[in-house]
């Protein structure tokens, strides 16, 4: 779908990415920063999957009832890999945030900076 000559799906992906980036840089709560990072990751995944779609295409599962053209299977497999890596990053970051809270009693970056 085109909007002023722009591919609307790609533009929305850029908007989503920027929302995530804004959360990441403007919030001082570490959990909110992590949420922003996850929103950015989601935007990247949406971008990659969208790029593999094709007009009137079926999913790339070659069984009875589906017909060419098929969506490209490569972006979908790549995104599956990306999601697992994103989950791993989120898990390690959450564990670190839990540790920070246990040691300092806060997860606000500006409060952490003022600690002796």
């Amino acid at each position: 779908m085109l909007l002023f000559g722009l591919d609307l799906d790609y533009v929305l992906v850029v908007v989503l990415f920027c929302v995530g980036l804004y959360m990441l840089v403007s919030k001082s709560n570490l959990l909110k920063k992590l949420l922003g990072l996850n929103v950015m990751e989601t935007a990247v995944f949406a971008f990659i999957v969208t790029s593999g779609m094709i007009e009137g295409g079926d999913p790339p599962i070659l069984v009875a009832g589906t017909a060419a053209p098929y969506a490209s299977p490569i972006p979908q497999a790549m995104v599956l890999t990306g999601i697992v890596v994103a989950v791993s990053v989120t898990a390690v970051a959450l564990a670190l945030i839990v540790q920070i809270h246990a040691h300092f009693g806060t997860i606000e970056v500006d409060e952490l900076k003022e600690l002796p």
Binding site: Y10, V25, S51, I54, Q76, A77, L80, V85, L94, A102
Partner: protein, 240 residues
Amino acid sequence: MKPWSLLLVLLVALPLVVGVVNLPPHDAPDAPIHTGVGVRYLARGVEETGNKNLVTAVLLNYRGFDTFFEVVVIFTALAAVLALPRGSAADPGGAPAAAAKAANGSDIVPVSPVVSYVVRLMAPFMAMFALAMLFRGHVTPGGGFQAAAVFAAIFIALGLVLGPTRVAELVPDDWRPWLQGAAPLAFALIAAIGWRLTGAFLGFPTDDHTAQEAMGLFLEVGIALGGGVILARLFVEMET
């Protein structure tokens, strides 16, 4: 709100929009993604890999190395989380630690009997769904990672209503490290078998469809078991 953060976001957005404008429309049949190697996967994937689900074919056969080290990544994430020092011993009697102790003590909210009943009622059906995704993943949407997510969801939901200790008993202690490492171990084993059969690391014998399917299924089972146990363990680690 910091004004410079909005400025930074705009600075990043500008090149992104410029880049996106110059891309071909995302569903055009002549976009580079539909003329590259994907064409070959679509044309010969079923014949070469025996997987009707070509996403599984790309994941396990064509890009097996990617998936091998992807399961190593999530295993490493668990290792990193487990390696962190446990508990809040470093904070002797701080206000947040005391508050946390109070929350874990008498003020804990009891589990609603409705929630508990529904979760226990649904658990077998969720397990059936996960198994269907696991064993039909090569011909229908699904696969090892998806099944792993559902398995982990069952463990987490049951852990919330029954208490984590009763669910942890489901996995015997001496099996735990093997299950957590199931996915990389399965990949290493299949890679060695593939080496023996075809002379290529992680190679699949293209002429023997039975062997190919058995190797693929073994990988999927390894991914589902390993991934499910790792995800559930990560959740438990966050809680304690």
